[in-house]
Every structure is written in C-alpha cells, then in structure tokens.
C-alpha cells in the first residue's frame, strides 16, 4: 500500500466537551423548535394587532371624513 505523506496524515481528536455538546444536539433541536414556534406565534400576534389597529384607524378616518364633509350637518336644518 502506498505510504501517505505526513502532510496528509494529520487528524484531530474530538474532545470531551465537544462530544458532550454533540450528544446534546436533540435537546438543542428541541429548544430551537420551541424558539421558532414562539417567534411564529409572536409574529402572528403582532400582525393581528397591526391589522386591528389599521382597521380601527381606517374606520375612524372615514368617520372623521364624513364629519368634515358637506354631509356633516345633513338633516339638521330640517323641521317636521
């Protein structure tokens, strides 16, 4: 068999701390999943709040526009 030059024959060992971290990958995966779910829920809540406030402000704006328009006093000068 061809002898490999030492330049290509160099390996490092996995130390105990890295080994422990690797074994904990499932726990990290679980944590990441929970973080992702929490973030998604938070984003949805923020989006819903934004839509709610936008619609509320639109409604108010329409109301204000009517009040400022020529129809604001519509019917006020009518007598029975």
């Amino acid at each position: 068999m061809e002898m490999k030059h030492h330049l290509f024959n160099h390996r490092i060992e996995v130390n105990a701390s890295l080994h422990e971290k690797l074994l904990k990958s499932p726990i990290h995966a679980q944590k990441e999943k929970i973080r992702l779910y929490t973030l998604s829920i938070l984003s949805c809540v923020i989006l819903a709040l934004n839509v709610y406030y936008f619609m509320a402000s639109q409604e108010k704006m329409t109301e204000n526009q009517i009040l400022e328009s020529q129809y604001a006093n519509f019917g006020s000068d009518l007598s029975i």
Binding site: L7, H10, V14, L18, S25, A29
Partner: protein, 189 residues
C-alpha cells in the same frame, strides 16, 4: 468495522441510535470540517451544526444513498456556509487564521529545530495554497488527499460526475504546482 446504525430508530428520534451515530461519525465530520476550514474553533462549531442538522432532517433521509454519503453532504454544505461566512469576514478585514495544530503536525516531529522550522513553513505554505483554490477545487482536493475519499465518493457528496471530479482534482493540482515554490511540496502534491 463500523456498527450498523438503525435508521428507523434514528428517524423515530431514538436517543441511543443518535448516540451511536455521534460515536461513529464525530471524528470524521470534525476532521472534514477542520481540513476544509483550516481552523479548529470554526470546525467545532460547524460539527455541532452538522449534528443538529442531521437530527432535524433525519426524517428526510430516504435511503437513496448511503447514510455516510448523506452525512458527508451535510458536512460539506455546512463547511461551505462557514467558508462563505469567513470570506465575508475577510472582506471586513477579519481574518480566520490557519490553525496552529494544523501546521504543527504531530506525525512529524524532528529533533532538528531547523528541520522542524522548515517543515512548519512548508505545511503553512501548503495550506495557504489550498486556501487559494476555488471552492470546488478545494473541496475535491481536500476530500481526496486529506480525507481519502474515492472519486466516486466525492462525486456522490458533491453531486458531480466522475469526470467532473477528475477534472477538478487535476486543475487543483495544477494550481498548487503553480503556487508552491518549494520543490519538495511540488513533488508531494
């Protein structure tokens, strides 16, 4: 001989099967990352990401290829992510240094300090030249010469044909010969 890993148990999320997978592949994955990234700290981070990805995407493994090929592909992709990140850092002036451990090869310890120094310089030169290769050339060359992958295995891991791998390695060698000045190094590659 490596033990057979129960893929179905892994896909079920069985911790024992995952532990077995870690035992079997951790050294291979770490060294592959190390040779591609040239930095131990980065290689350790990449290795953690690789095993996290393996656990998260185990259910996607269809068995079309060998488990080892699939793991090598994930390792390559993660290493590439780190390489690109390192390139971005370099653009901002932050340089990821070549690991000292990579240069101080324990397999070659000379009692002669001058010879040791020369060897260190030579190794440094070699890895600097490898760093200058294009991404694909660097991967193909590293996997073949440093990780003992066959052309077929490299092709499977990089999604390339056999002839494309041959051509990549040939061009990598040509580039290295052009870059390296040391005649001993030129002979080795």
């Amino acid at each position: 001989m490596a033990e057979e890993i129960d893929i179905i148990a892994l896909q079920r999320g069985d911790m024992l099967a995952f532990e077995q997978l870690v035992h079997q592949y951790e050294k291979k994955v770490l060294n592959m990352c190390w040779y591609l990234l040239h930095n131990r700290e980065e290689a350790e981070d990449a290795t953690q990401d690789v095993f996290l990805s393996i656990y998260q995407s185990m259910h996607q493994f269809k068995g079309d290829s060998q488990l080892s090929t699939w793991i090598h592909r994930i390792t390559l992709n993660k290493s590439l992510e780190y390489l690109r990140r390192a390139k971005r850092k370099k653009r901002f002036g932050i340089k990821v240094p070549i690991d000292d451990a990579l240069i101080l090869n324990k397999n070659y310890l000379s009692p002669n300090p001058e010879e040791s120094y020369m060897e260190r310089e030579r190794t440094m030169q070699f890895f600097q030249a490898v760093q200058k290769l294009s991404e694909n050339q660097r991967i193909a060359y590293t996997l073949h010469h440093l990780e003992d992958f066959s052309y077929k295995e490299i092709g499977a891991s990089m999604n390339l044909s056999l002839s494309a791998v041959e051509s990549l390695i040939f061009r990598a060698k040509q580039q290295l010969i052009l870059q390296l000045k040391d005649p001993i190094l030129k002979n080795i590659i």
